[in-house]
């Protein structure tokens, strides 16, 4: 008889599971089997394969190097590191003992490429091809760490060898991201070895659809796409809708500037999303689903495609799944790059092949969605939470978070913060803790100014709001929103008027153009902000801006328009003095708005070296060895090159 090559293979001829002849115990059998017969040989084969897939510290089995090959690390050269590692292992004769696994995102994008040595759990960051030989030699031959390549804390300067010791990771609670970076997302057996598909197996074997919905309700899970609607309740609406045919959709049209948590999940743990959708489809009574993913995420789409194929081959997608009579078919639709297609009615229009424009609700998708059928739509992170709730129970899930916002939330921490990357923390952690403890504070010792949370629909919160617990209701009250979870950190060199203008430009460009206030109102708001940044602002502009903001908020058709004014309203609320400085004093306190800057040279400090004049792209600096240099402010294009060039601090920006 043939030996088992992968965990999915039958242990012997007594195992009859195929997609056509499904076995209800298949999933449990893979990790605790065989169940239908007692054979020590079969058991040994299974546990041997499992041990390889689930390395335990201190054991010689399952030696592997997990290289982050998510989009961030891939662009920092992760694939070159993978080939170098493979070559080096072969050269040192270790290629049969040590596996190199390209995984999904570890989340520590700032420090990429990162790799983890298993089973020792050692983490190496910013790995270059040249480091590979030393790492392989020391780790696997000498069983030592390469001290000088370990991550160093930017604040303390101390090196840290494992995730448990790296501040960025130590304070996170990784539930949804738990597998990301530790399994090969292109192999379904790795997901299964890490308790994958246990949730759907449990639902199909032990629970009715209503019980599944009750479990999700009890967990307190709320939609992770932004609005925070209770997931179980949403499912129950669609379940109760009349009609045989129902659809479920995974919204993977992640489009907020600075948000990439859904990409991380899709790239790193696609089966978790499939399993979440399976559970949702079973609960709702849907037999068909779509993953709507933006085309700008090719790796996420690739991993999802592989995962769907593998799940189909294993009988986990298709008809009569695990001999339960439950059918579910899943396919992918790639979006064409419209931000508004993240809005659920626009998204469904796009799947139907129409222009992605939102529709008025009601009817809600739960009554009339895709092709007029009851449809339930959740985002990637929401779906990926579901298997954990089913497998570990609602009570386990609800231990995390606050009273009304349960579980963990992934944030994409970006901007002027030391540790950028994906951060998963229990709901209710303070922004200060996320930014300063996990994020390691502001880059280059600069002062914190604001954090933009919730993307173009969110708001900018100042230092005095940093102790707010991050949950849906608190942030909304503060004028921001959890949104999809983008956290853009800004330091003192950021101009808040300019930031408001940036986000409004985004919303205006991405407005679908259907309703008047969003299409025309955001344009006029942007024009006012643009005028202010150019020093042409008028005293009454702020009132007009606020009035327009309220009209756009209260009269727009969809969430895009209703929330587009948030960055303006929140900056006006917390940073009004900056707007006033632009309008009244014609100055930009952060020295960002070029039209409001003047560059001069302090004749006292000028050493007459001429470096600034040579560097000036507008050739507007004159002087010589005897005369101090002078900037012709009429010709100056305010690029700041002279300021950066001068070694003596003689160039003054005001």
């Amino acid at each position: 008889m043939e030996t088992m090559k992968t965990l999915l293979d039958p242990c012997c001829e007594r195992c009859t599971h195929t997609p056509e002849t499904p076995c209800r115990d298949y999933i449990r059998c893979l990790t605790a089997g065989p169940l239908c017969h007692d054979d020590p040989g079969c058991r040994a084969k299974r546990s041997g394969l499992l041990a390889e897939l689930r390395p335990t510290q201190g054991s010689e089995e399952g030696q592997q190097i997990l290289v982050c090959a998510g989009t961030g690390c891939a662009s920092s050269g992760a694939h070159k590191v993978v080939s170098a590692l493979e070559g080096e292992l072969q050269r040192q004769g270790l290629d049969s003992e040590v596996k190199v696994v390209a995984t999904g995102c570890h989340g520590f994008c700032e420090q990429g490429p990162t790799l983890i040595i298993e089973p020792a759990h050692t983490v190496y960051t910013l790995v270059k091809q040249g480091d590979v030989a030393e790492i392989v030699q020391k780790e696997f031959k000498e069983k030592q760490r390469v001290e000088n390549l370990l991550y160093q804390d930017p604040l303390t300067g101390q090196s840290a060898a494992t995730f448990a010791n790296i501040r960025f990771f130590a304070q996170q609670t990784r539930v949804v991201l738990g597998n990301c970076g530790f399994i090969n997302p292109e192999r379904i057996e790795e997901y299964i070895a890490h308790d994958g598909y246990q949730g759907i197996a449990k639902a199909l074997q032990e629970m009715s659809s209503d019980q599944v919905i009750e479990e999700v309700k009890a967990s307190g899970l709320r939609g992770r796409g932004g609005a925070g609607f209770p997931t179980g309740l949403k499912w129950s609406f669609c379940r109760q809708s009349a009609g045989e045919k129902k659809y479920i959709i995974c919204n993977a049209d992640e489009g907020d500037p600075g948000a990439f948590m859904d990409r991380g999940v899709l790239e790193g743990d696609p089966h978790a999303v499939i399993e979440g959708m399976l559970i949702g489809a079973y609960a709702i009574g849907a037999d068909e689903g779509y993953v709507y993913c933006r085309a700008e995420y090719p790796l996420a789409i690739k991993h999802m495609e592989i995962a769907i194929r593998q799940a189909e081959a294993a009988g986990l997608l298709g008809n009569n799944i695990l001999d339960s009579g439950f059918n579910f078919h899943l396919s992918i639709r790639a979006g064409a790059g419209a931000f508004v297609c993240g809005e659920e009615t626009a998204l469904m229009a796009s799947i139907e092949g129409k222009r992605g424009m939102p529709k008025v609700r009601p009817p809600f998708p739960a009554q009339s969605g895709l092709w007029g059928k009851p449809t339930n739509i959740n985002n990637v992170e929401t779906w990926a939470n579901v298997p954990h709730i089913l497998r570990r129970g609602a009570a386990w899930y609800a231990q995390y978070g606050t009273e009304k916002s349960k579980g963990t939330k992934i944030f994409a921490l970006t901007g002027k913060v030391n540790n950028t990357g994906l951060v998963e923390v229990p709901m209710g952690m303070s922004l200060r803790k996320i930014i300063f403890d996990i994020g390691g504070g502001i880059q280059n010792g600069k002062k914190f100014k604001a954090v933009q949370i919730g993307g173009p629909s969110g708001g900018c919160l100042p230092d005095e709001m940093l102790d707010l617990p991050v949950d849906y209701d608190t942030l909304t009250r503060a004028g921001a929103m959890v949104g999809s979870g983008g956290l853009v950190v800004m330091d003192e060199t950021t101009c808040m008027v300019d930031i408001a203008r940036f986000f409004l430009n985004f919303s205006q460009s991405e407005s679908c153009g259907k309703c008047t206030p969003c299409r025309e109102g955001t344009k006029r708001m942007w024009e006012i902000l643009d005028r202010i940044t150019k020093g042409e602002g008028k005293e009454e502009d702020l009132d007009t801006l606020e009035h327009l903001a309220h009209v756009v908020k209260e009269t727009s058709l969809c969430g895009l328009g209703q929330n587009a004014p948030n960055p303006v309203l929140s900056t006006l609320k917390y940073f009004r003095d900056e707007f006033e400085a632009h309008i009244r004093d014609k100055t930009c306190p952060a020295h960002v708005c070029a039209a409001l800057l003047t560059y001069t040279i302090d004749a006292e400090k000028c050493k007459k070296c001429g470096l600034c004049a040579r560097a000036c792209p507008a050739a507007c600096i004159s002087g010589d060895k005897k005369t101090p240099y002078v900037i012709d402010t009429e010709k100056c294009i305010k690029c700041g090159t002279c300021l950066d060039t001068c070694k003596f601090g003689a160039v003054v920006r005001a």
């Binding site: 009601p362 991405e510 407005s511 344009k523 009209v551 209260e554 009269t555």
Partner: protein
């Protein structure tokens, strides 16, 4: 029918269940401005001019797509509602040419009507960017000025839902959004059949009947309801008559057969009325030349010739082909004439396939 009672502006009103707030207001003579709404088209709630305040609802919901419910409390005239409507109108006017004096739509323009009502002068946001799009003058029937378009989308829905052509849709995004055929082709190069349904629903001067441009103002024109002579369908429309002359055709929404729908011939073919090439008397060919004749003369000649042919070759040597433009009655008479007078069943007409 189940009735519900709601309060609008302090008045208690009863309406059938399933009525929208807009319908409830209009049934009770409470004015609500609308630009994208049309009772014959799907409601999209896109212009946002019909917003009202409803107790217990967040924001300002559009009345055209909000169902009236039992006990609902609606306010249509509060300061907040009026201000928001005025701002929406200001936003539309800020991106709309102010050439009303020469605009064909003057006098029947909904935007101008509401601008007047809400005192929108065009000064708000007046320094901002305006569209500068080329005018589509590609065809003899419809003049399309996209700069005047307020993107209400009624033309798109009329094309899709009334005519079933789906030639038009939105393109581009945000401030650059436009309406037009695929790839923004001129109408002449598109799949357009020039039924003019889009023109009939346009609330502003973006789509106008080209032949009527410069020919008269709405208040100078007398509308004469008539039946289209082009075919036997019996469509009704309004002849627009100025100084005793037909300057064009507009839909009559009350037309019993066709509503506002017309075909290219009915809507744009009436220029034949004043055509110098039109025949006004019968013509008889004499010595190779057509010569004007009286009806008696012409009919006598036809009768004489038909008689001769029948006598010489038999009744079945004669056939009659009539026109689909004729009415049922005319076609009935034609076959009766052929069967009873000529004595043949050789009858047919041009629209048989």
């Amino acid at each position: 029918m189940e009735w519900i009672t709601l309060t609008i502006d302090g008045r208690s009103v009863s309406v059938p269940k399933g009525t929208t707030v807009l319908q409830a207001c209009r049934m009770n003579n409470i004015p609500i401005p609308t630009l994208c709404h049309d009772p014959e088209l799907t409601a999209t709630g896109s212009c946002r001019l019909c917003i009202v305040e409803i107790e217990g609802m967040r924001n300002l919901p559009p009345s055209c797509v909000t169902q009236a419910t039992q006990g609902m409390v609606v306010r249509t005239r509060t300061e907040k509602v009026r201000e928001a409507r005025k701002t929406i109108l200001e936003l539309l006017v800020a991106n709309h040419p102010l050439d009303c004096m020469t605009c064909q739509k003057m006098g029947s323009c909904d935007l101008a009507k509401y601008a007047y009502e809400y005192q929108v002068t065009g000064e708000a946001f007046s320094g901002g960017e305006r569209r500068q799009l080329p005018i589509d003058d590609s065809n003899p029937f419809i003049l399309r000025d996209p700069n005047k378009c307020i993107l209400c989308g009624k033309c798109i829905r009329a094309c899709e839902e009334v005519q079933g052509r789906s030639v038009l849709d939105f393109s581009y995004r945000g401030f650059n959004t436009q309406v037009g055929p695929a790839f923004n082709l001129p109408y002449a190069e598109s799949e357009c059949v020039f039924c003019g349904s889009c023109v009939s629903v346009c609330p502003v001067g973006a789509l106008t009947e080209k032949e009527m441009v410069g020919q008269g103002r709405p208040w100078e024109v007398k509308k004469v309801q008539t039946t289209c002579p082009f075919c036997g369908t019996g469509c009704n429309f309004d002849l627009n008559v100025k100084d005793g002359k037909v300057i064009g055709v507009t839909s009559n929404p009350e037309a019993p057969v066709n509503g506002r729908a017309l075909c290219v011939k009915g809507r744009f073919g009436m220029d034949m009325i004043h055509s110098p090439n039109r025949l006004t008397t019968p013509l008889i060919k004499k010595d190779g030349e057509f010569v004007e004749a009286s009806w008696d003369e012409a009919l006598s000649l036809v009768a004489e010739k038909l008689g001769e042919i029948k006598a010489q070759y038999g009744a079945d040597s004669i056939a009659a082909l009539s026109s689909a433009r004729c009415t049922n009655e005319e076609n009935y008479l034609m076959q009766k004439f052929m069967r009873a007078v000529i004595g043949t069943n050789n009858v047919d007409h041009c629209a048989r396939t």
